[in-house]
């Protein structure tokens, strides 16, 4: 029974989260549609490897010390 109520809470929470965005997002124009509410998210993302594609290469042993490495040179 406890599991049943736990599931109800979890699933209603998930539904609520989806409904929340359905109610809040009436027009999508790009990043700013999200960052209106998620104030720090865009800045965080611009500091991430998934955006920059470049970063320090601390695990490369024969790489020039201050040269950034990334995902752009591949075969």
């Amino acid at each position: 029974m406890c599991c049943f109520f736990a599931c109800m809470v979890i699933f209603s929470g998930m539904a609520l989260a989806q409904n929340k965005h359905e109610k809040l997002v009436k027009n999508y124009t790009g990043t700013e549609s999200c960052s209106m509410c998620h104030k720090d998210a865009a800045k965080e993302m611009t500091e991430s490897l998934h955006y920059l594609q470049l970063g320090e290469a601390r695990f490369l042993v024969n790489w020039p010390k201050d040269k950034l490495a990334g995902m752009m040179d591949t075969f």
């Binding site: 989260a17 997002v25 993302m45 998934h50 950034l68």
Partner: protein
């Protein structure tokens, strides 16, 4: 290899539709190439495609807005509905880019996790369950050139704790292996174990092949399934060109499986050095020489104008497609005179090789 960042590729066969092109297709920017680290501007804050990582059933193409090209939902994708359904990234969202990294499904590492090939995917686990996140930074494996979260180590032992693993082995022998052998060595016995999703073991850029469906050219790929790994010592550092660093005498090194792929790349005939080819020119024309000429021009690279093929190789870590324990390597897979492990090459002295290759 040089790429376009964003572009539209119109096949020579005008009956084929134009297709989105460029590396940016799979990166999180909406339009412009990201600024360099430390030089981020306000424009970058508006250049994030939140939906590519957070929206289910979303995909994007290249659309023209005035004179600018941008990555955006093409006709047939309801971008508003996608935005209204955002959620924590699922594997479907991660794999929409990562599954086809390297030009096709499962081409690079050969261990894309699917329900048919990976025990964790079969359980319904998502990528971010292991690749934990902090403020949009994602923990990755250390064979990557760069990392988001240096202090977070992705490791099987984050969940599978010592003292709990291999409980069925009353002798304790299996657990003795853990100090010098990665879990993946036994539990990821091959790449591309699912025959529906082969990987590639070689790629030849000197031999363009026309894709009849898309009308675009690509290199000649050699697909293969059930690809046996190369076993090497690895201490979590890499060399470039990519080779694992480690040795039998380095106590931080463990025997680790790698998938090796041979690439014949376009090089300057005079110097033998690889040339930055322009991938879009190659895709449309199928002409390696034209792609090299344009690529070298764009990259301001010295190039004689004459090219030849040069073979380079690359190793890829094998951290996914974890097999059910019934399919993990058994003792005699390595410990036999015909075993898969080349103990001599790994640096074991002859006397020890003799002992290690005796059946258990």
């Amino acid at each position: 290899m040089g790429h376009n960042w964003i572009g539209v590729l119109q096949p020579k066969d005008a009956t084929k539709p134009a297709q989105p092109g460029g590396c940016g297709v799979c990166h999180t920017a909406i339009s412009a190439k990201p600024s360099l680290p430390g030089k981020i501007t306000e424009a970058d804050y508006k250049n994030i495609d939140c939906l590519i990582c957070h929206a289910p059933n979303y995909r994007r193409g290249v659309v023209k807005e005035g004179e600018t090209l941008k990555f955006w939902a093409p006709n047939g994708v309801d971008v508003l509905k996608a935005a209204q359904n955002v959620q924590k990234p699922t594997s479907e969202m991660c794999l929409r880019c990562h599954a086809s990294a390297g030009g096709g499904p499962n081409h690079k590492h050969g261990v894309i996790p699917t329900k048919d090939s990976d025990v964790h995917a079969a359980m319904g686990m998502n990528c971010v369950d292991c690749h934990t996140t902090q403020k949009h930074k994602i923990a990755g494996g250390s064979d990557l050139k760069a990392q988001d979260l240096w202090d977070v180590k992705i490791d099987c032992s984050n969940c599978h704790k010592a003292g709990v693993i291999h409980k069925a082995d009353a002798t304790g022998y299996i657990n003795k292996h853990v100090a010098r052998i990665q879990c993946q060595t036994c539990h990821v016995p091959a790449a591309a174990r699912d025959p529906k999703m082969p990987t590639i073991v070689s790629r030849d850029w000197t031999k363009p092949v026309l894709n009849q469906q898309t009308g675009l050219y690509g290199p000649t790929n050699m697909p293969a399934s059930n690809v046996k790994p190369e076993y090497r010592w690895w201490n979590r550092f890499m060399e470039t060109p990519p080779e694992p660093v480690g040795s039998i005498s380095d106590q931080k090194s463990k025997i680790t499986p790698w998938k090796r792929t041979a690439y014949t790349v376009i090089a300057d005939e005079e110097t033998g050095k690889p040339v930055y080819i322009k991938a879009g020119v190659y895709a449309v024309s199928g002409d390696p020489g034209a792609a090299a000429k344009k690529g070298a021009e764009d990259a301001k690279q010295q190039y004689s104008g004459k090219w030849k093929g040069v073979v380079e190789s690359m190793v890829f870590s094998m951290n996914h497609q974890v097999a059910p324990k019934t399919q993990a390597l058994k003792c005699n897979a390595c410990h036999s005179s015909t075993g898969i492990m080349d103990f001599k090459k790994l640096g074991y002295p002859d006397e020890q090789v003799k002992s290690l290759t005796t059946n258990r």
